[in-house]
């Protein structure tokens, strides 16, 4: 590492990192057929990155929904439109908050643990040991985690959205006294399965892919020291948050 103050080198280094990450994605995809032989490993990883994230996703989904219920009720009441609370909450969740907040939570919960796990495997020679046992670590370690992220993320986002709508219903109907029928009928007449629900899911799939790509890349290429693993974990959170928000903008502009 050269001292700071050489922006051109930092820029070139950054571009080289992006290139290396892209090549890493290609090798992950190339290892997909081989990783199907280790399908059990993928199942296990869906458990670790998906099911183990459920608690945080459900809790946060509920609270985000409740806060949305409160805030939007206040805003809508200014315009006399509180009947639209269900519509506004569900559209906000489906189109933006569900995929994005789930992705940020996922990066913090599952992304970091993927990086730390693979980084430690690198530092303790477990990846070399696999190579020496004629097992491709890409197919056995990296690709299953990548696939698990792509599978788990949309499912987590669905759970998040459901809990969010439940939370908004709790606040709006049970607490602030909106009419139950109005809450739902307004929602069902404005929310479209394809335009809102499914398009939001595509976002989740893309976010799951980029977060696990960044997390596995950081872990796989980390310097094999405890310091290296610590930095790599931090980088996973920082990079995936930035990339998720940037990608969200791009996908919103082109998809929705």
């Amino acid at each position: 590492m050269t001292p700071a103050g050489k922006p051109r080198n930092a820029l070139a280094g950054g571009i080289a990192q992006i290139g290396a990450c892209g090549l890493f994605l290609l090798s992950i995809l190339a290892a997909v057929p081989a990783s199907l032989r280790h399908i059990r490993e993928t199942v296990r990883q869906v458990w670790f990155v998906g099911a183990m994230s459920l608690t945080i996703i459900m809790t946060c989904g509920l609270f985000v929904g409740m806060v949305l219920g409160l805030q939007l009720y206040y805003v809508l009441s200014i315009f006399g439109g509180t009947a639209a609370l269900g519509t506004v909450v569900s559209l906000a969740l489906y189109r933006e908050l569900g995929p994005v907040v789930t992705a940020l939570l996922f990066a913090g919960r599952a992304g970091t643990s993927i990086t730390a796990e693979i980084g430690l495997m690198r530092a303790t020679d477990q990846l070399s040991a696999m190579e020496m046992m004629a097992v491709d670590p890409l197919a056995y370690v990296v690709t299953p985690r990548f696939l698990a992220g792509v599978i788990a993320m949309p499912l987590l986002a669905c759970v998040f959205n459901a809990l969010g709508i439940f939370g908004a219903h709790l606040v709006g109907v049970a607490w602030l006294g909106l009419d139950n029928g109005t809450f739902w009928s307004n929602m069902t007449s404005s929310v479209d399965v394809w335009k809102d629900v499914i398009n939001g899911l595509w976002k989740s799939v893309a976010f799951g892919a980029v977060i696990t790509l960044i997390a596995t890349f950081q872990g796989y290429t980390t310097p094999p020291t405890s310091e290296g693993v610590a930095y790599a974990t931090t980088r996973t959170v920082v990079f995936s948050s930035i990339v998720v928000l940037a990608l969200d903008f791009v996908m919103t502009a082109f998809l929705m």
Binding site: R44, L155, C158, V159, T188, S189
Partner: protein, 167 residues
């Protein structure tokens, strides 16, 4: 070994939970919920102009949904639009002098059929037709009336905001 099976079981549960959430969201919180209803009966209404009314659009009384638009077709004899409304059976007590009107939700929202209840003791039965209807208000008509009246003093239909222009 037992550990391996518990992973598979747990993962299976997780995936089922995710899909259950998706299924609930897709069927209960979106317009799909409007197609799927319990028992219903059919009422007919004739309009000279249905404007932007779409299949599946809600039918409401006092702002609450009670059914949806099932078909929209042109009557070849009378050359007006014949609209079939399917109404949930639990709202079977609509007075037979009720009126059906096509309104727009909000300033630029979708159109829906609003039913204004009458006072008759007799109820509409399956297959009956509304006697009184009010068509969708067209922006062009509004502007036309406005110009004919020669000024802004007397807007033609203050109760019904304009629909988006017809193609």
């Amino acid at each position: 070994m037992s550990q391996k099976h518990s992973y598979q079981f747990g993962t299976g549960l997780f995936i089922l939970l995710g899909f259950a959430a998706l299924a609930w969201l897709a069927t209960q919180t979106t317009s799909i919920a409007n197609y799927r209803q319990g028992d219903s009966y059919t009422l007919n209404a004739r309009f000279s102009n249905v404007g932007q009314l779409k299949l599946g659009a809600p039918v409401k009384i006092a702002g609450v949904r009670i059914g949806s638009v099932r078909t929209i077709e042109v009557d070849p004899a009378k050359l007006d639009a014949k609209v079939q409304l399917s109404i949930a059976t639990r709202y079977a007590e609509l007075p037979d002098d009720s009126a059906a009107a096509i309104f727009t939700s909000g300033l630029l929202g979708d159109q829906y059929v609003a039913i204004q209840p009458g006072g008759s003791p007799d109820a509409l039965k399956d297959g009956d037709e509304f006697v009184l209807t009010q068509s969708s208000v067209q922006l062009e008509d509004l502007i036309g009336k406005f110009l004919a009246a020669g000024g802004p003093e007397k807007p033609a239909e203050p109760a019904t905001p304009a629909a988006t222009p017809t193609p």
